[in-house]
Amino acid sequence: MPAATPVRDGVGLGLAVGVSGLAFGAAAVSSGLTTWQACALSALAFTGASQFALAGAMASGGLLAGTVGAILLGSRNALYGLRLAGLLQVSGPRRLLAAVGVIDETTAVALAQPDRTSARSGFLATFVTIYLTWNVCTLAGAVGAGQLGSPQRLGLDVVGPAAFLALIWPRLRSGGTERAVALLGAAIALGCTPLLPTGAPVILATVAAVAGALWSPPTAEPDPVSSRPEPQQ
């Protein structure tokens, strides 16, 4: 069943990560956004880190810097799109729709697949599941904010980092360059947090990928996707 694994991975990941829309909805409302503003962000921006960054900025008052930071944080999706374009090969209205789904999780699932067909089903399954779950949970979190108990009490603040770590885990096992790039990226993010606007340190971590690309010998395969030995999970 070649199509089963990407769909199962995508749906599982989509449900798991989409549920943290509860945390976003609750965080957004408790930082001063309205329920509809929280829902608009989830439906239209649909990229968790940027949404959390804007909610954080709303709470701290720096709305302009927060907007710039949130968009900066979304710039990694352009790089993901660059990576996904060859796999998805969508054009016209389908491209306009697929663009909404170019995020961390869909990219990770698509790139973890051994071939193009699996990559496309993985992308679609992850996109649809996470979009629905994320938006429904945003509304639920916003409406239920204050009634559920704090997201921290439920440990929901660990969901993001744990999910991102699980997403890159197969790559970390696949090579020394990947591990070095990850460590450098994390160090840049931590080291620059006191100095730069919200969102910027994560973008600056791109430098680690530049260093890794210059340091390591380029891959020989014509299709880099075929070099993924580990399926997602």
């Binding site: 503003q37 239209l44 804007l54 993901y80 060859g86 980092p161 991102f164 699980a166 990947e178 340190p201």
Partner: protein
């Protein structure tokens, strides 16, 4: 229109435009092996940075939240034991929640 709505809609428009740009840029950009290697490594760098930022910072300060770090540690153990994705997430959140409930961290 309030400032908050402008910020929300500007963020949404900016984020969507970036996603679409990535899908639209000519594919020959990826023909160069170094560029391809860079595109492969970008998610690794950024996701690792996000892990560090979300687990180890609060606002503009490095912050050590023992429960959060313990949750992340539990996720690492689960990953080393090859637990499936959902279980990794549940173990991480439950560890942090239980430590906070017990007042240990």
């Amino acid at each position: 229109m309030t400032a908050a709505w402008i910020a929300v809609l500007a963020t949404a428009a900016g984020c969507y435009a970036l996603k679409l740009t990535g899908l639209t840029v000519p594919q020959r950009v990826l023909g160069n092996p170094r560029v391809r290697r860079f595109a492969e490594l970008v998610p690794v760098a950024l996701l690792a940075a996000l892990v560090a930022a979300q687990a180890g910072t609060s606002g503009h300060a490095i912050s050590v939240d023992p429960a959060r770090l313990a949750g992340l540690g539990a996720a690492v153990i689960a990953l080393l034991l090859r637990a499936p994705f959902l279980l990794v997430i549940v173990v991480a959140a439950a560890t942090a929640a239980l430590l906070r409930l017990a007042g240990v961290a």
